[in-house]
C-alpha cells in the first residue's frame, strides 16, 4: 500500500516571491483517545487558515479523528503519537505515526478505512520495523479543499 511519489509539486514552478512557504506544523502527544480532540482542533485551524470551505474543514476534522482513532487503537500502551501537518497550496497533508506491536497496517476494507478514503483524496498506511521488535504505524492523508467531490 505505497503512497504515490511526492515529487512533481507545482510549488517549484512558481516564481520565488509568489511561492508560499510550506507550512509545517508538528504535534507530539500521548497516543490516547483523550488527546485526539487536540489534533482535531489543530487540523481545523490549519484548514481554516488554508481557507478551505466550511464543509471541507469539517471533513478534515472527521478524517483526522478517524486516522488518530485507528492509530490509537493499535498503539503500544504509553506510546507517543506524532502528527505532522503540511499545508500546501493544493492540499493539506497529514502524517501521523505511533509505535505498535502489529506488523500490518489496519485493513483497507474496514468501515474506518472507507470513511477515511471518502474524506481524503489520498490515504495510505504502512508499518515499518521499529526498535525492540516493535513496529511503527504510519498513516498519511491528503486533504484537499474539494475532497468531497
Amino acid at each position: 500500500m505505497d503512497d504515490e511519489a511526492p515529487g512533481g509539486s507545482p510549488l517549484s514552478e512558481l516564481p520565488a516571491d509568489s511561492r508560499p512557504l510550506d507550512d509545517v506544523i508538528e504535534l507530539r502527544l500521548p497516543a490516547d483517545t483523550n488527546h485526539i480532540p487536540l489534533v482535531r482542533m489543530l487540523a481545523q485551524a490549519v484548514a481554516a487558515r488554508s481557507d478551505y470551505a466550511l464543509d471541507a474543514i469539517a471533513d478534515v476534522k472527521m478524517a483526522v479523528d478517524e486516522a488518530c482513532a485507528q492509530l490509537v487503537g493499535t498503539a503500544e500502551p504509553g506510546a507517543a503519537m506524532n502528527c505532522r501537518f503540511q499545508a500546501g497550496p493544493e492540499n493539506i497533508r497529514l502524517a501521523v505515526d505511533a509505535r505498535t506491536r502489529h506488523s500490518q497496517p489496519p485493513s483497507d476494507r474496514s468501515f474506518g478505512w472507507h470513511v477515511l478514503s471518502t474524506l481524503a483524496t489520498g490515504v495510505s498506511a504502512r508499518c515499518e520495523p521499529d526498535s525492540g521488535g516493535a513496529y511503527r504505524l504510519y498513516i498519511e492523508l491528503d486533504l484537499s479543499p474539494g475532497a468531497a467531490w
Binding site: P37, Q44, A48, A53, L54, A58, D65, R109, G112, W149
Partner: protein, 261 residues
C-alpha cells in the same frame, strides 16, 4: 407577517378536526393513513414555524429550530387522538414547545463561552447558510469574513469556538418519518459499497440502530457521495449541524465496532 391571535388560529384550523377523526377511525395498516397524516402535517406546518420563530434570537439557527418544531409537530399528530378533546392545538402547541425546549437542553455550549463568541458563532452559522444559498456551495472563512464584515482572524476564532458547542441528539431517537429522505433510504437498502466492507455484517445492524435521520445523513455522506452542504440542503438543517451529527455518529459507531472486535 404577524402571528394571528390564538383564538383566530383555532378557527382557522377547525376544518382539521374531522381529519383527525378520520385518521383515528382508519385501521393501522390502511394505506390512507399516510396520506391523511401528511395532509395534517402540511396543514399545521405554519404553526410549527411560528413556534420556532418565537425561539429565535437565543443562539440557535432558525432553520434548525424549524426542523425541531416539525419533528415535534409530527410527534404530536401521531400521539393526538380526538378523545383528548376536539382541539389539536391545545395538545400540539405544548408538544412542539416541549420538543424545542428539549433541543435547547440537549444542544448548547459544553463549556462557558463568552457571549461575544456565542454571538460570533451564530453569525457564522447564519452567514454560512446565506452564502451557501447564493454560492451553491459552502463558503470559505475569507468569504464569510467579507460577507459579515469581520476580520479573518475573528472568523477563525469563531470556528474554533464552535468546538465547545455540542448537541446530544444522537443519543435519543428522533421521530422524523415524514422527512423527505427517500434518496438516502434507497441508497441504504441496496448498497453495493457497503457489501465491500469486511465487517458489514457487524456494521449493518449498528447502522439500523441509529436514529433514522442520523443514519440517512451518514449514508448520504459516506455511501452517496454528497457533501455536507448538499445534505444540509436536503435534510433542512444547517451544515454545521450536519457536521456535528456526522462526527457524533462516527464516534458512536467507532466505539461499538471496537467493542464488537
Amino acid at each position: 407577517m404577524t402571528p394571528p391571535p390564538t383564538a383566530r388560529r383555532r378557527d382557522e384550523y377547525a376544518h382539521t378536526a374531522p381529519l383527525f377523526e378520520q385518521l383515528a377511525a382508519l385501521p393501522a395498516d390502511d394505506p390512507g393513513r399516510a396520506r391523511l397524516r401528511e395532509r395534517l402535517v402540511t396543514e399545521f406546518l405554519p404553526v410549527a414555524e411560528h413556534i420556532a420563530t418565537r425561539f429565535t434570537g437565543r443562539g440557535e439557527p432558525r432553520e434548525d429550530l424549524v426542523q425541531v418544531a416539525r419533528i415535534g409537530l409530527i410527534n404530536a399528530i401521531d400521539r393526538f387522538t380526538p378523545d383528548r378533546g376536539p382541539d389539536f392545538l391545545s395538545f400540539g402547541v405544548p408538544t412542539i414547545m416541549g420538543e424545542i425546549r428539549r433541543y435547547f437542553r440537549d444542544t448548547g455550549w459544553s463549556v462557558r463561552v463568552p457571549r461575544r463568541l456565542k454571538e460570533l458563532h451564530l453569525s457564522l452559522s447564519q452567514g454560512s447558510a446565506a452564502l451557501s444559498q447564493s454560492l451553491g456551495r459552502a463558503p470559505t472563512p475569507s468569504e464569510l469574513a467579507e460577507h459579515l464584515g469581520l476580520e479573518l482572524t475573528e472568523v477563525h476564532e469563531g470556528l474554533i469556538a464552535g468546538n465547545a458547542y455540542q448537541t446530544l441528539s444522537v443519543d435519543r431517537p428522533v421521530h422524523d418519518e415524514a422527512e423527505p429522505l427517500s434518496l438516502a433510504d434507497t441508497l441504504g437498502e441496496d448498497d453495493v459499497e457497503l457489501e465491500h466492507i469486511e465487517n458489514h455484517e457487524v456494521l449493518q445492524p449498528l447502522l439500523d440502530e441509529l436514529p433514522r435521520r442520523e443514519r440517512a445523513i451518514l449514508v448520504m455522506r459516506f455511501f452517496g457521495g454528497l457533501t455536507q452542504t448538499q445534505i444540509a440542503d436536503r435534510v433542512g438543517v444547517s451544515q454545521m449541524h450536519v457536521s456535528r451529527l456526522l462526527s457524533q455518529t462516527l464516534e458512536q459507531l467507532r466505539g461499538k465496532l471496537t467493542d464488537e472486535a
